[in-house]
Symmetry: D3
Subunit: 220 residues, 6 copies
């Protein structure tokens, strides 16, 4: 009801509420630059997972995983925007995981883009942008998680698959198929160049499919 942009993303059993909050003005250190500012915060409700985790507010500190994911979402969403055309406005994207079953960070990026697009449109209607809305939002982004399970590349791992995956990769692409971020990690085992290539191909294809869904969601 309240936010300038808001979307509830569902990927399998994963549910992420992405909201974009607009503030006029930018943080003090950026004032007078003519550039906007976009940042993101990711969090999980305590019982989004199979066993309850303690709240980070109760622990009094934010864990490393939360920090790492918030930073990834923020970088990915800044890639959508021409900060000069956005003008001195700030967009804060909150991604709160209500229910988790794998792929929460990539769902957050994919949904976060839709919330940002809504917020830019809202700014456009208020005539608060420096440029046109389509100049401010100059790219779309979407993200998927891919992995290798039993030697096989797989798209959109659910939690149980994620746990047994040998390699786990997050791919963030633009709507025109360029890469914004590629993060592959093989903690359980290492991976060969051919596997890297296969995962990147699979991820890029997955992002293309999501881009289509985003277009439909924004058109309606």
């Amino acid at each position: 009801m309240h936010p300038e942009g808001s979307v509830l993303v569902e990927f399998g059993a994963t549910r992420v509420l992405c909201t974009a909050s607009v503030t006029e003005g930018v943080p003090r250190w950026r004032k007078g630059s003519g550039l906007g500012w976009v940042t993101a915060e990711y969090a999980m409700l305590p019982r989004a997972t199979t066993t309850r985790s303690d709240r980070e507010s109760v622990k009094g500190r934010i864990g490393g995983r939360t920090h790492e994911i918030s930073r990834l979402i923020g970088r990915s969403l800044r890639a959508c925007l021409d900060l000069a055309a956005l003008g001195e406005n700030s967009i804060m994207v909150d991604c709160d995981v209500l229910q988790a079953d794998g792929g929460t960070r990539t769902a957050a990026i994919t949904g976060g883009y839709v919330a940002v697009a809504d917020a830019v449109a809202w700014l456009g209607r208020k005539r608060a942008l420096s440029g046109k809305p389509e100049a401010a939002l100059h790219r779309s982004v979407a993200a998927v998680s891919v992995g290798i399970i039993g030697g096989e590349p797989r798209l959109d791992l659910c939690y149980e698959e994620d746990v047994i995956a040998d390699v786990d990769m997050n791919i963030v692409c633009t709507g025109t198929g360029d890469f914004v971020e590629v993060q592959g990690t093989g903690e359980q085992s290492v991976f060969k160049r051919a596997e890297l290539d296969a995962l990147v191909d699979l991820g890029a294809a997955g992002c293309a499919a999501l881009t289509e869904l985003q277009r439909k969601a924004l058109a309606s």
Copy 2:
């Protein structure tokens, strides 16, 4: 999907997700007492309100209002339960406000009761209770907010009414009409004994109506 008890409460535009998480055993200081333990945590998503508030996890500390409400919910829900019949099990009730429009704490208590009832039933099916489920959950509770606006007692204030109310009262009753908690405050102005009585009557009637809705929800 994951919790032992879970309900999404809607009161007007207010939306609160209440989940009950069961752990076998109790905190160390209570071990060997034969008694269970129930506690609650309340939180708001940053953009549940008309303007975004900073996350308490980011600020590194929980505010006084959050503490006060979490304690109220915990006391109210402990009143439902016979902790000896519950046995040495712990129930943690998380009440996360997704969208706020007044009455979030009373919605959390009313929904929290349903989540606790589900969790007790789940423990009963697992034969993990010391007593029977109906002994463990020996009362129902429901809560409403009432207030005086322009001299008139009113039930279920939305956010805009809450702001202008002269007196604001939260009433928690059992399903048999007894009182668990009565909290009336008149920060803007003070209130007379007759006004107190009128608010208590109105609140008790409101709780009775909610008790009926809870019965239907649990029956289905």
Copy 3:
């Protein structure tokens, strides 16, 4: 020696040091409003109680009980004051429990009022109020704790009584007998409407007696 208003309250074995500190000006978000600001902080010395509790400064966080009580004191003391007549001055009331034997929060409110009255008089002598002192301090407040023990309503519970009480209620009244705050809780057991009425009557009478004592203290 130092504060603008200061009083050591003794209720039975309970001792609370209440001081009021005046600062010219108000917090930034309130500047230019013409209104004053009053807030309160409650704390216990570590060995105010029968067993020592850890300092909240050492734990690095303030507990929920402390927050809840500080907020109650602040609300009650703001009810005494016409913030427009106070002008843009801030009063911080510190209530530090040196020795605790039940009823510390109500003792803090009752003593806090005397400290605030001293501070308003001090501001009046300095000609720093927007209105007259008697306009700024437009009501007196006093508070008592009441409870039901073994079916019997009782005034001013000491610690041992408080622990065994079935119902526990804090009543804050003005000098003219109106209510500022009514907080009744029946964690151990629930309470009936007749019990609520009896407790409210008893509390109001207790507050009236304290109002008399406050008048004498301020007159001397």
Copy 4:
């Protein structure tokens, strides 16, 4: 009322409440050593000084000055005790400054010794010591602050003198005139060897006078 040892020290306008709390047993890392444990915590009420300081519990962290003073008091009071004769008991000494006018840390040590002596006597009556009370409390300690003002050595500086002193020294002595701690600092200016000697002489004489007062206080 509650603590095992308790004393309210008055030095000029300075008031420090010193309490000693006894716990059977010692921290885990010291278990089985046969040795006791003594530690101290120093704090100021927010309005002990001419202008109010924020509470360290509210700031969420303890300042360097508080840490430094707590450590000095703890070291000084451990010098009184034979930790083997004390046995595996812990004594926590809380020194809370109610009103400050210079010399709070030395007042805390001098008063803390009396509280510790009370606590050891209490342990003796409970037959909880490994040795005799006079073996456990094998020395007395007292402390004074001395300084040089306008070239003149001075004992017991009040706040206004402390601020203008060229050199500031805290001396902790035993009842037999030996030194436990000597801390001299000349931030505003440096000091010569002859000045150091004069301050140490003056401080030792001051401690001897306080030792006499402690004896009388404990005898009564």
Copy 5:
């Protein structure tokens, strides 16, 4: 002098002190698993950079960048080890940046491997491993940063190059040329598949050269 493994890495003007500290036993939740535990902490001295940054200990919280890098180093170093052959021993790797000029995280991984190898050898000499040292340390790892500047792929970016790079990638490889981690990000601009391939090739070659240097360092 003190640690079980220690190395000072120099990459250009970057200086990172990597130490490996061994503790017998593993964290409680891992006890009885037969598996070892390896984790890493990364930090910068406040004046490692051109302008001083505040200490994270003074700020009271660890920043997102520090968390993200510590986690990357930990994952990379766990890839070196067969945790079953390590047995229930813990290795903590501290990477402290004394002077920073780009590539600190990859320098930390490359140096951290040498410190871990020393620590495993130390455990082997103490006969504290479950398996043989060469089974416990079953792979080597090395890391480089690569980037695209002005359309050109470049190895080992110094700070000034890093700031202007269009794409920035960290590559972690084993001594046999497999990938452990690939992290590419194009915040300023996006990148094409061909650029991704070129960066991966360049990074893998860089890691191979470092593997050679590590072998020599460990042989001496």
Copy 6:
């Protein structure tokens, strides 16, 4: 490479990296005073000692020992400077212990002086001082630790000696032999006046020798 003043001090096996960072301007509360500001922060790398200690950044709070030492270093280095001749410039001195074997705080002061002298010279070359460099840096300071072991006064205790010392004293002197700070503590045992005198003599002689070394270091 980066700091305005920087020195790596070696005292026995102790290694402390001291850097001085200059900022134009002073903290807000000091603006317009015409005076400069100097402060110091001391820290240990986690594995500077024989067993690893947890990072204070990870614990989220700075320990009492760290605070106490940082304050001592700051006071000692402010004694070197005429803050009016320094003008409104701030110098932050960071003392990071890379390897510890006793005497880290006195090494930090001795090295910190050299870093401050470099920073003042740097300010002089930039013509940013209010007075001349030799007016701004009007004294030199050096510090040593002395102690009594087995009845014998000893200079420069290493860690193993420090642990068994009966009395432990830190002496800070100016280049002309005046005292800046004298801190003697006899936690294990107390000390007599004659022992105090012997330690002060020994410490003053030690500082004189270090002053000579500082002169040579700064001359080169």
